[in-house]
Symmetry: C2
Subunit: 199 residues, 2 copies
Amino acid sequence: MAQQLEPITRMVSQLARLPGIGQKSAQRLAYHIIGMPQEDVRELAAALYQGRKAIRYCDECGNYATGSLCSICGDERRRNGQICVVRDPRDVAAIERMHDFHGLYHVLHGTLSPMDGIGPDDIRIKELLARLQDTSVTEVILATNPDIEGEATATYIARLIKPTGILVTRIAHGVPVGSDLEYADEITLAKAIEGRREM
Amino acid sequence: MAQQLEPITRMVSQLARLPGIGQKSAQRLAYHIIGMPQEDVRELAAALYQGRKAIRYCDECGNYATGSLCSICGDERRRNGQICVVRDPRDVAAIERMHDFHGLYHVLHGTLSPMDGIGPDDIRIKELLARLQDTSVTEVILATNPDIEGEATATYIARLIKPTGILVTRIAHGVPVGSDLEYADEITLAKAIEGRREM
């Protein structure tokens, strides 16, 4: 029987390495791409490779950037004394979509995870402490994920910063807006009650 | 607020053009690709573009090929007098996976669809008729899909070939092996009974 052509096999195996794309979808995508005008495939391939090449990390905060500083660190108006600490650049994008935070970020590029051998030196904690030498920083908001590793990382960083006298805060845990109390898990609910505020 | 970087936006919009990849998955894929080593992204992009560039259609049957003839048309042992007519190269791949057909193929690259303005001249029917001038052809097996357009195309081609005296056959319709009669639709069931064979 005729084997699948090597260029198709190669295309399928490359596509199947992407998250959420199994062997079947990769096959379907490959056939679609082979049916696309060559110029369109060139644009797709260029967007991936040139895009990857164009993106680097901001020298200051670790967010995605095209130059040495990201657009946020490069914006003088964002220097309001607040630094929001997050795990990765996607979290910066999520918080930016909210249009409500006007300070700077610090991207850790990971969270502490002793089980996976990820310690304080493997994420950008040193870099954060170095930034705090700047006396204009008044508050560090710890916005790591509300999971075990995110909490441990926040606790660890809080302990390091406390002695400097800079205000350290943690984002609130509680029931998501628009959700149904009935379906909230107990820990979230307990946190929501614990964090209650006078109205 | 900070806009998403242009290279990321471009990556997302290119990925979102692929079938089955919505805006959200495209975003997720783009972030994953940005996190990949640059060399791996180069390999992915090259597999897509070089792969697309390397694939052409077989001059004889219209199947995918890397040279002027596909591996099947280039194999003398496949010239057993049978030509199996299919809609597209994926159907060739499907039949080849069965390891049971040893003849040649003819890929129409479409099916007749008056509603979409696709007539006999828009698919490779002329090319099929030309191949039938070769006196070694003894049977044309019509393996277009068992749907309205596939049936219409098969009927149309059968009518053209009949006068040449070459045997024209149509693949059987019936209940799929391993399926459950209870869940077969009525038309399939009717076709299965109509096409019953003595045991």
